[in-house]
Structures are given as C-alpha cells and as structure tokens.
C-alpha cells in the first residue's frame, strides 16, 4: 500500500474543491422544514378519556419520571382511578416503555420535538390535561400492533364438555393447575383498580402475587382478611373486579376469581383453621344473628374473632343461605359450603338450624337474651309476572324450584319447560331443569324467554354461552303475555316481542310489538324475574316500629335499623350477590362491635 508517495498523492486532495459547486446539504430551518419521522418518539400525548389511571406507566418508568396525579375535569367512573400520568421531562429518557406497556393504548408520543419555555417547572406536565400544541398530532410513536409487554390472553381453564356436563350436576370447571395459575397470575400488573371495585375490597394484587410466588398460605391469609367466603367466591362470585381489570381493555381480564379458587384449593382443609387464627379473648357480649347466609356468617366470623359470643339461627336444616339453596351444584359443590361453614364454626360460632323466626323463636326473646340482634333474611320470595294464568300450580318461582332441586325433592320434572327471565338465576334454573330432564327423559327441552335483548342481557355471557351449549333455547326480547292453560293443565307461554323496556322517563314500562306473537310450549312455566324479602317474619308490631324506605328496611351506614338493638344486612338491605353480602357483613359487624365497645371505640 502506500509507502511510496506519488504525484497523485499531492494532487488528489485538491479534488475536494469540486464540492465548491454543490448545493449546501444543511437544512436552513430544521424545526419547521423537517418534521420528525412518523415513528419519532417525541413529546407525550395521552387520550385522557381512554386512560384509566392504572399507573402501569409509572411502574415501568426506570427514571421515576412519571407520577400519577389527580387530574381536574375527569369524570370519575368505575374502573378509573381518576389519576393521570404527569411526566417530568427533567427525568424522561424517551424510551417509550410507558407507551409500550400502557394497558389501554391511551398513551402515545407525537413526532414534535420543539418546546421552548422560560420556566423549567413547566417541563413537568400532565399530557392530555395540560394542553399542548402537539396534542392532536397524528404522527409519532404508537405502540405497534402486535407489540405487547404483558401477555394478553387468559390462561386456559379446563372444563367439562357440554355433552358430559349436561348428564350430571358435577362441577363444570376443573380449576387451574399450578402452572396455569402462575401463567395467569403473571399477567397481573397490580394496578389495584379491582380492589376499589370489589365490594369487600379484597387485596387482589397481593394474593395474585402470592400465587406467582407459590406462597399459598400467604395468599389464603390475605383472602380471609377480607372474605370468609373465599372458597365460595372463588367459584361463583360475580367478579366485578374482572370488569374493571386493566388487562380487559386490550385483552382478557385476569381470571381473578379462578385464582382465588386456586389458592383455596391448594391449602388442605386442616391448615385453614391454623391460618385463619384464633378468636380474641372473650368479651362476654352476646350477639344473635338470624339467617346463616353469607352476610350473617361473615358478621358472625368477624364478631367471633373479636371475642363476642355469637349464635346464628337458621330456618332451614343446613347453613349457607342462598349459596346452598339458590346456586346449582354444578357451579358450587356442597362440600365447599360445608368447609366454609366449618371454618366459621371453628371460631366458636354456634349455628342452630331449623330455627325459624316466628315459629321456633321470636325476635323478642332474642332481644332479651342478647346484646345485639342482626337479621339477614335474604331474598327468599320469588316475584310473579302476574300475567293471566300465572296463578296456576304449575307456574313456579325459580327460587323455590332451585331450593327443591338442591334438596333433591321431587317436584315432577317437566318434559318441556319455559323460563321467564334473563338473569343469572334464570340461567341457573334453566340449566338445572335441563340436567333433570336429561337424567329423567334423556333429552333437553327448555326455552328461556328474556325481556332484554342480547345486547343488554343481564346474565353473564359465559352463562348464556354454556346454556346454549347444553341445548337450552334462549330467546331475547320476548315479553310474557299469558300462560296458556287447557283442560286445567299448563300447555305453554305466549309472548310478544319487546320494542322497549323503559319509557322516555327511564321508568320500567315495557312496550310490545303485538304483531310478533310467539307461543312456547311447555307443561311448566318458571318465573325468574326477581326476588324479595319475606318481611312478614318481623311481625306486625315490630314492622310498625321500624322505619322503612320504599319497602326496604331503613338502615344507617353500619346497617343499624331505627331500633337501636337491631341491625340488618345482606340481600335484604344491599345486594344481591355473595361478595356484596360479605361486604355488608363486615360493615354491620364493625357497627355492632363499636356499639358493644363504646369506650374502646372512643379511645
């Protein structure tokens, strides 16, 4: 190579002069003449209407540049923390991990890169709330379509095939294996929106973390901190938490309910008593609770742990309330309820069955023998449509039928049945009848007629899907008009198509298209349109004394009625689902405890 110099080496450098005649390559005004590339990671934009304030961006930011702060002018709604990310451009490194991890896709970046201020504090701003000129820029970094930093799909839950499950009352879902549960728990971003939504405010991200760590005892302890019906809720909770889960927005919500069930299933029953712990020293106070459902037993659990002597009076022959008598076994096996009740009994709670108010005991005697009385009567009476023919003996209420089915009483399974109603209870009775039909006659002939259309259906989508798989015919937007009776026997139901359920003022006043009439044959019609409390149990005298509010017993925030010795809780006050009853049980127990310990409370 070139140790030998040549004339060329002297002349060649002068070729640089040819550049004199070229145009300059510099851009005179780069800020205006040259916009950032379409993917440029410029200043942040946030669609605050789409943002749910889950704070995942704050969690992932390695510079601590993001703080979640309350934002003005944002309507507070379910599943939204009301906070919005504030970004400190003194710390931001424009890595866009916040954009990549954003659970709703609301956070993006514009391709703008010019921002001049004289006040350095202004470079800490809340995108979307503090308006900027680039807010509406269409170009800039967006998370690419398939680019996700958190898995979107739910871990598969095994379940029985429709053909197999229709022939028995065995539990449908198998439950997660440890591997499946870890995969599912891994998806959680621990934003805590679910905690705010859960009526019992269970420590959901914490127990999901316990599943990740495989520390099931810690998980169970966390469950029982807030919910003594965790085993039951792990199977049949209405899981409102999952409707506000941050993962729901761009994927499947975390299977919070199944993870709760998984924790419960991993711990042997003997361990439960150890983990739940021992009650406090006896206070000498006596509390009577009427009704051994979730609300009553939760209150019993709390009060017993606090050292009070608790006696529960149950009208039926087994405790559990609606969880035992209203929910089919394929969703909630009996032994789960027995195990749950055993935990509560282990704290010294005395549960006396076959003790009906007004028949075996009186509220007056309870008042005299106890320092406080709590009634949790539940919703035991089915409502009627009151259409012509609905007074026939073969027009039944779903709540009664479910109770009979669970008690294995023979109520004469119809070969063909029509269910009126579109809620979860309607699905429960329809699927129960379908199983009984399959067992008795080998075929399923159940029709469900719901007032709502499928877009506004009340029952959970998976219930509707599974019922369809089991051969049940579900018709939406059908208004019941008449139960047709011939020769003294029910032969079916006549319905009209529903045009609207509510009137212009939003009141319940269905309007029908009379030209669209259908007849649904069936020898039994089941009404499943709602339930109410049997307040006659209170007796006339007490009912007179108590304050009422639109047919419901009036209670204060702690569940105390206008009579200072009497509290009420559960479905008869709020509801109706298990976890709401549990939350109510906690509330009322705290109120009773405070009333029993006035001095301590004041300290």
């Amino acid at each position: 190579m070139g140790f030998c110099m040549s004339v060329r080496d002297v002349l060649s450098p002068f070729t640089a002069w040819k550049n004199l005649f070229l145009d300059p390559v510099t851009i005179r005004d780069p800020l205006n003449d040259r916009p950032g590339a379409a993917r440029y990671r410029g200043f942040h934009q946030n669609d605050v209407g789409r943002c749910i304030g889950c704070g995942t961006c704050e969690t992932i930011c390695q510079n601590g540049a993001i703080d979640m702060v309350p934002a003005e002018g944002i309507e507070t709604k379910q599943g939204d923390s009301g906070l919005r990310p504030r970004i400190d451009y003194g710390r931001c490194c424009w890595c866009a991990l916040c954009v990549d991890v954003c659970m709703t896709g609301s956070l993006t970046m514009s391709n703008a890169y010019k921002w001049v201020e004289s006040d350095p504090d202004l470079f800490r701003f809340t995108p979307g709330v503090d308006r900027k000129y680039w807010d509406d820029a269409e170009r800039g970094y967006r998370r690419p379509e398939d680019h996700r930093l958190t898995p979107r799909e739910r871990a598969h839950m095994g379940e029985m095939a429709p053909e197999a499950r229709i022939g028995s009352f065995d539990e449908i879902v198998h439950g997660y294996s440890i591997e499946q549960a870890r995969l599912e728990a891994d998806r959680c971003v621990a934003c805590g929106l679910c905690v705010a939504t859960c009526p019992a405010h269970m420590a959901i991200p914490d127990y999901i973390a316990a599943v990740r760590d495989g520390d099931y005892e810690r998980g169970l302890r966390l469950l029982y901190d807030t919910n003594p019906f965790s085993q039951i809720c792990g199977r049949i909770c209405t899981h409102r938490c999952e409707t506000t889960c941050a993962a729901r927005h761009e994927g499947d919500p975390i299977a919070i309910r199944w993870l709760k069930r998984h924790i419960c299933d991993q711990i042997p029953h003997e361990k439960y008593l150890e983990i739940v712990g021992k009650p406090a020293p006896a206070t000498g106070k006596r509390v009577a609770i009427v009704g051994a459902g979730p609300a009553g037993l939760t209150a019993a659990f709390d009060l017993a742990k606090q050292g009070h002597s608790v006696t529960v009076f149950e009208a039926l022959d087994k405790p559990g309330g609606m969880t035992r008598w209203g929910i089919p076994e394929y969703r909630l096996p009996y032994d789960i309820i027995d195990r749950e009740v055993a935990v509560i009994r282990s704290l010294g709670v005395d549960i006396r069955c076959n003790q009906r108010i007004g028949r075996d005991i009186s509220l007056k005697s309870l008042r005299n023998g106890h320092d406080a009385v709590l009634i949790t009567l539940g919703l035991q009476l089915g409502r009627s449509t009151r259409i012509p023919g609905s007074d026939h003996a073969d027009v039944r209420k779903s709540v009664d039928l479910l109770r009979q089915a669970r008690a294995c009483e023979d109520f004469g399974t119809p070969r063909q049945a029509v269910v009126i109603g579109g809620g979860n209870v309607a699905m429960d009775i329809a699927r129960t009848l379908a199983r009984l039909q399959k067992l008795a006659y080998g075929e399923v002939r159940v029709t469900v007629t719901a007032l709502e259309d499928f877009a506004h259906f009340l029952a959970d989508p998976e219930e509707v899907k599974e019922a369809g798989e089991e051969g049940i015919l579900i018709l939406d937007a059908r208004g019941p008009q008449q139960v047709v009776v011939e020769d003294g026997k029910v032969v079916g139901l006549r319905t009209w198509r529903v045009k609207a359920i509510f009137d212009e003022q939003g009141r319940f006043a269905p309007s029908y298209d009379e030209t669209d009439e259908q007849f649904h044959p069936g020898e039994m019609v089941v009404e499943s349109i709602g339930q109410m409390t049997d307040t006659a149990l209170l007796g006339d005298a007490l009912s007179e004394q108590l304050a009422w509010n639109r047919g419901r017993l009036q209670v204060d925030l702690g569940g105390r009625t206008s009579e200072s010795w009497l509290w009420a809780a559960g479905d008869m006050v709020r509801g109706p689902d298990v976890v709401s009853a549990v939350a109510d049980g906690h509330r009322v127990a705290a109120s009773i405890h405070a009333a029993l310990n006035p001095m301590k409370e004041r300290q």
């Binding site: 070139g2 640089a16 550049n19 379409a38 390695q62 959680c188």
Partner: protein, 408 residues
Amino acid sequence: MAYQPDRSQYPARRPDGLSRHPASRDTSTALCVGSLDIDLASGKYLKLWQGPNHPGITGNMSLELTVCGDEVVEGKTHVGYLHRGFEKLMERRTFIQCFPIVCRICVPEPDFNEYCYAAAVEELAGIQSPERADWIRTLILEMGRINSYLMYLGGQAGAFGLGVIGQWTTYVRDLMLDRFEELSGARIYHMFILPGGVRDGLPDGFEQRMEETLVEIERVMSDVLDVMFRNAVFKKRAVGLGYIDPALIEPYGVTGPPARAAGVAKDVRKDQPYLVYPQLDFEPVTGADSDVYTRADVRRRDLLMSIDLVRQILARMPKEGPLMAKIPNVLHWKIPRGETYIRGECSRGEYGYYLVTDGSGYPRRVNVRGPSYTHAMALMERLIVNCNIADVAGLLVSLHTYPPEIER
C-alpha cells in the same frame, strides 16, 4: 528526588526512538524490559496533560505525558471522568428497565449494548427471538457500524488537520441517522432492540430510501479515498505511526480493526457467528502494516463491506413474521439463576456482555466488555512511547476508542 516512573510495562527506549520508519520498528514483544530514569528537575523532561477536555482526546479521558522535547518518553492513561455507574445501576432495575439505559454505555454505537443485553437476557430466560427480528437486529448493527466508522474517519482525518473529511462524513452520517429515526423512532439512542425481539418492522419505502443513502455514502467515501487516503500529508503522518506488533494482539487483548490491520483476521461475525451472519456473504477485511494508515484503510473497507451487508440483508430478510417472542409480563419478569457472556463484533472490536442472574427480578451482575478499555488504556500506554506530541491525537484516534464505554 529523582522521579522514578514504573517502566516495567514498557520496552526500553530505543536509541533511534524518533524514527518511525518501518525498518526501524521495535519488534520486541517482551512486556517487561528495562526502566528509564526520569529526573523532572533536570529540565530535560516536562509533564504534559492532554485532556480530559482536549480536541485531541476522543471523549472524556486524559493522557499524562512525559515529554522530552516534542517526543513522548512516557504516557499514562487516566479514565474516570465519565463514570456513570451503569453496571451498578442495572442491579437495581428490573430486566426491562435496564433496556433503556444500556444504549447510553456507548454513545456513538449504542446498538451493540441493546443487542448484547437482549441476547444475554434471552439466553438466560430461555427465549428465542423470532427470525425476522434477528434480521432487523443485524441490519441495525450494520447501520450502526457504518455510522461509527463515518464518525471515526472524520476524527482520524481531523487529528491530522484534514478538517473537510469530518464535514463530509458528518453529512452522510446524518442521512443514516434519518434512516435510524424512521426505523426506530430516535436518532442517537434508538432503544429498539429489546429482550424478546425488536419493536417494529421496517417502515414503508424504507429499502428505497436506504439505497439512496447508501449510494450517497459510497459517493462520499470515494471522495474520502481521494482526499484522505491518497493524500501526501495524511500518508506522511499516518504511515508507520502506532505500529502494533502482531505478537502483541493476543497478550494485549487487541480485537477488531486494530487486530485485522495487523493481519490477524479476528472477527466475531466469522469466528463465532451470531444473528444472521452465517447467512451473509462476507470476508473479514485485513491489512498488513498495522500502522495508523492501515487501520484507517481497514475501517474504510470494512465500512464499504457493511454497506454491502446492509444491501444483502434488505434483499434477503423475511417481510412477514413475528417481531417479538412470547415474553412473560415484564413488570415482574424473573430469570432463573445463571450466567452468560454474549459477544459481538462492533466497529471497534469485540463487544460483550457478561450477565449473571440469581432467580430474582434484577440482574445480579452485569459486566460490559468494551474494546476501548484494552485499546485506550493498556495498549495506548505502550504505543505512545517515542511518539511525537503532535501525533498523539492521531494515534489515540486510530485505536478508535469511545471513553463512555470504558466507564460503565
């Protein structure tokens, strides 16, 4: 009292030390030869600090020179002016949170940090990045190599007073930064290669614009050949300067172009192929004379080879397919106990990441092996002896060192 420098690391000074003619090169490969008495009070020697802020220093490091006349009789390298503690910072960050900071370890060629870190995490977590992502990773690494060489060429020429080369290479480097911007969303810190794959595919029309950029770079490189490499001034100063004996390559851990310029065909892309290099056609560029001129020429030809590799990649890469492997939720990503060393051939030599994990959500230890550490510190102290003061800058630049990467 007479100043007694520790000369145990250096060969004895040659009587004809000022001569840089190849025939008179020191061919001694001994590491411990003799010692030199330097009496600063004698008035014969002078201490001269070059850096940490000095145009003849590549970035923030410093040379402590002992000169006699205009000849360096001893040089010590000092680093530590740019320590940001990245390796330690990473021990307190989750695996995904390390991703945005690794690129900062080496500013002019950040992508190797992203690749090595991602590959190390993937190996320990048992993840395989998708094929299309590997092609894009290779593309980015070659684009980064071109940029790094362009920056070097400007510096190398500038160190000998040829200012125009830097202006030209900066111009075409900017064109390549435009391509980086449209591909990755950023010009300098691309933050594009992350554990599991890459963020996105190529934008529409990228191949066409890249081809235009490559053609422009080739045009400028042909000018650079005329004005820099066929230049009497550059040859006068660069030929014979900073000779690295091939026998020193192994003991000093010399890699990359400095090794290849000595005729040792070391190239991790060939020696231990990674990404899609086995599917690309190329031969490591080597030289023979092992001086500043040869090293510059090896880099120039390596740059042209990278241009060819970029063309090969764009022509052959799959256009469809996933870009990210299935990774767990990054917010609580725990990686089983293990350790690995991932290496790659960056523009300056072998770049490597040693990663130790302990089953937690954080790296237990990260050690970055950058070529600048060995080249700029140990090797430089040896090469600088008998160098003319005016040539020190050219010598240091010829080792192509980036102090940010020395100080992790």
